[in-house]
Structure formats: C-alpha cells, structure tokens
C-alpha cells in the first residue's frame, strides 16, 4: 500500500562514501525527532524524513547529517579496534577462575 504522506525532508548520501549501517543507526538514534524511510536509488541512499514535531527542518537535516557522520566514524573505529577489544576481554576474563577468583 502506498504511503500517502509526503516526507518533510529528503536527504541523499552517496553509497560509495557512506556506510548504509551508519544511516540505519542514525535513523534509529533520531527516531524521537523523525521517522526515516531509507531507499537506494541508483547508488544513492535516500532518506525521507517525516518530523515528529514542528521543529525547524534545517536543524533536523543538519543533525541527521551530523549523526550519519558520527555513526560512520563509530563503525570504522569499531572495525579497527575489534581485535584489541577481544584481546582485552580475553586478558580480563582469563584471570578469573570458576569461583570468580583472580589469578
């Protein structure tokens, strides 16, 4: 069934630059302020935002873009540091015995 309501904002992100997971996370983080519909059109990720309140749309667009950038950075940090995270957790838990004693 077609969605009758027109979105308030249409933001585009180049798929070769932005990770689709970053956009999904940004949409999740901002769900209080807007409902986001994500589509892929010819290598472009299109986010259609419907604001939850009558806040100014420039602010919403700016914050959504900033959130996408932040999420992109988070994803690359996570990928880069994942082996070290596992190593630290391995060290932390390897010294705790079955009874919780530290060796």
């Amino acid at each position: 069934m077609a969605d009758e309501q027109q979105p308030d904002l249409r933001l585009e992100f180049d798929e070769s630059i932005h990770n689709v997971d970053a956009i999904k996370r940004a949409a999740y983080a901002m769900m209080k302020r807007a409902v986001c519909n994500i589509r892929m059109v010819d290598g472009v990720l299109v986010c259609e935002l419907t604001a939850a309140s009558d806040e100014p749309l420039e602010g919403l667009a700016r914050d959504f873009r900033r959130e996408v950038l932040d999420q992109d950075l988070r994803l690359s940090i996570e990928a880069q540091t994942e082996p070290l995270r596992n190593l630290v957790l391995g060290l932390a838990f390897s010294r705790v015995g079955q009874n919780g004693e530290v060796h």
């Binding site: 209080k32 950075l73 940090i77 996570e78 540091t81 070290l84 391995g90 932390a92």
Partner: protein, 486 residues
Amino acid sequence: MAKFTDINAYSKNLAAGYKPLPFRFMPLDSEKYVLTNMAGEFVVTDRDGLVEFAGGKLHHQSPAYSDLKSKHFLIDSDSDVALDLLALKVRTKLSPLANFTGLHIFVVTLRCEHSCPYCQVSRANDNRTDFDMTEETALRALDLVFQSPSPAIKIEFQGGESLLNLDLIELIVAEAKRRNETEQRELAFVFATNLAVLDERALEFAREHNIFISTSLDGPKDLHNRNRPRPGGDSYERTIDGINRARAVVGRDHVSALMTTTAASLDRAREIVDEYIRQGFRGIFLRALSPYGFALKTKFYQSYGHERWLQFYFDGLDYIIEMNRNGFPFTEQYAALILRKMLTPFQPGYVDLMSPSGIGIGAVVYNYDGDVYASDEARMLAEMNDKTFRLGNVHDNTYEEIFLGESLLDPIEQSFAPSAPMCSWCAFEPWCGSDPVFHYATQGDFVGKKPLSAFCGRNMAIFKGLIERMNQDPEIRTIFENWANN
C-alpha cells in the same frame, strides 16, 4: 568462541605510531565530544581532535597524546603493560558480578497506616494479618539468602510498614545470626520504615543488633504531609521525631532518609535540600518518580515528563554544588554514584545502573506470600497484576530454579546494554544500566527503544551535565572527586 590474537602481534606493528584502543564517543554539546574507553575512563575533545585521534594522526608530543595514553585510549611501542592494565580495570569493574546477590529484601507485611496516593506497593488495611509474611515463609527465604555466593549479605525489611510486623523481624534477625555463626558472611540489617510506629522495643532491638534505619522524608512539612497522608495528618512530625529518637539510640550514621519526587516537588528542589540540611543529613538522593504501582494508576507518573524532572534535578544539584563551594560539604547521592563510576576504578552495586542488569544479581525481593521478585520494581509491577518478573516461590522452587531460571536470565541477557541498539555505540554505556523492568513497564519489552526511553534520556542528560560542570570548573571537579571517593 572468539579467538584471541597473541599480544606480541600488536607491539610489533607499533614502532611507527600508535593504535587507538577500543573507545566510543558521544556529542557533549554542539562542539565537544566525550570519549570513553572499555573501563569507563573518559576524555573530552572537539570533533577535529576526535577525528585526528581516530585516524592515527595525533602527534606523539601533544598534550592530548599523553592524556589519551595515560587513560588507556591508545597504545604505542612503549606501552608494554597498557593492555594488561586496561584488562585489570575492566576486570575490576566486572568483579562485583561474581558476588551476587548482596541485598535481600523481605516484605514482612503489606499493612501500612499511611495512604500515600503515589505508594508503589498496594496497601492493605492496618489490622488485617492476611498480608503478613509467615514464619515458615521467612525461614524458607533465609535458606535461599544463604545460598547466595555473596560474602556480604544485607537483609532489608520492607512493607507496607515493616515495623507493623516486628515479631517476624525479630525472628528473622535471630535466625540469620544463628546461621551466620557457621556461614561467616558480612551480615547487615536495615529497617525501611516511615517511623510513624517506631516504639522503644523496635529501637532497642535496632541498637542491640546494629540495624540501619532507612526512612522517607520528602521535603518540608507541607510537602511531606501532602505526599504522605495518614490519620492525624502528622506524618512529618512523626518522621522527624523518629529520626531524632533513632539517632540517639543507633547513632547518626545508622539513620538515612530517601525522598520521593512528586509533581508537587518539582518547583521546590532547593527547599527539599534545605530540609535535609535542617535535619542534619549529609546528603540527599534526588530521586525520579518510578512508573510502577499506584504511581502509574493515579496518573502522577504521567503528570510530568523527564524533561521537567531534569530541571528539578539540576536545580537541586547546582544548589548543592554552590553550598560545597561555600565550604559546606553536602552530597547529591545519585551524582556521587555516577561519579564513582566515572572517576574511580570501582563499580557501585546500584541496581538501576548495572549492566548486566542488577535484577536478581544486585538485589532480590521475597514478598510476604513467598513469591520471589527480581527487584523491588518487579514486585511493584506484580501489584499491578503483571508477574513477568516473578522468579518463583520460596516454597515451590529451589535456589537454582529461581536464580538460574528463564524469568531472570532472559531479561538480563536480552537487555545487556553492550548488545542493545544505541547502548552498543553509546559512550556512556560503561556508566549506565539496562533496567529491563523499567523498559518492560513503559515500552513492553526488556530492551526498550532507548531514543524514546525516559531512563535513557534522564541518565544521558545527567552524564553530560556532570561532565560539563567538572569540565568548566576545576573547583567542581574537586568537589566531584570528593563525592566519588567517599
């Protein structure tokens, strides 16, 4: 299971630079970001600083470099023990988990002579004993208490008004002490009481057994009496009288008070703080109203949003900070709990701010009828006919069935913050909790959508508010360090 690469593999690659250690970030305001590492240590920087650091471009002689290195945000060729130290800090933060369950709450009666409209457990008529815990139930609950691995066990008596069933309290204390002669745990007891029926017998018993007394004080007389109606309308007078009598017998440090915030409190944070000072307390816990029991039924909960509560909280906090600046030491205890997480290697066992969730691990509740609940809030939810967090009954279930059953493990596992959407990338996660009971009560599932959660909104604002304050002013940082270390 994940395979771990040998530690030496990392040091070989570092001769030319550094590697960021795992960290998360979150905007603090429109310019600054907070970065936290796996152990909850933090730094504040701007976006350029963040991008530079994450991209491996930070100059090794810059002040930011040494700060990040000393706080375990990076390793370089001469950080031989950095990973070991970080692992040690992570382990220290997680170690309280091995010692579950420390707090055992006995609901010895649901009877109460107050009729507070926001009361979070159902009340029952003052003189009916159908709502009293029986001796048999209490003894069976004690069997479970001493099966907990925790070396420190605190038994708290709650109600209703707990002191209306003093006979049973006396029996439980005597029996717990008898069993502890062989168990040798660090054993403590607490009366949670409104003090209205505190008599000499209860006081003498508290003195003899070194029992802590925790009461309710909502603020100045008019506010307290309005929140807590009772026959005679003298709840405040009785509370203050009880506090003074209790202090004289069990000692000042054994008497504490908790406040409940209602819609009527919201413009009066400073007066509430003043009342605590007038009564000689050294701190206050500025609490949010919980969404359970009568609180929800009477629509008090819906009558103000968390934004309004945050104004109340920060008004009170700033007032207290100002007082400390002027040389009067006084603590806001919720901030102190969080600051302990932020500024020390220790992890306070406060149930709401634990992940994995503290339900059943930090505290457990034995209701008057023998039902066991994962937390006090879980019991309140049960009073609203939702027994999702009922873990079993002391008469029907074994320790293993209660503490290793699905009713407890499912919500703990599902709500585990490091794997929950948004919490998994949130810089505040090392200090935060998961509170599956709150999210279940307000959103219908254990995890909850954090962007819509009052729990998340409230805590995130407090984390940011505390960091902003100590970042702006070294004197506040010193005050906060004192709170964290006391």
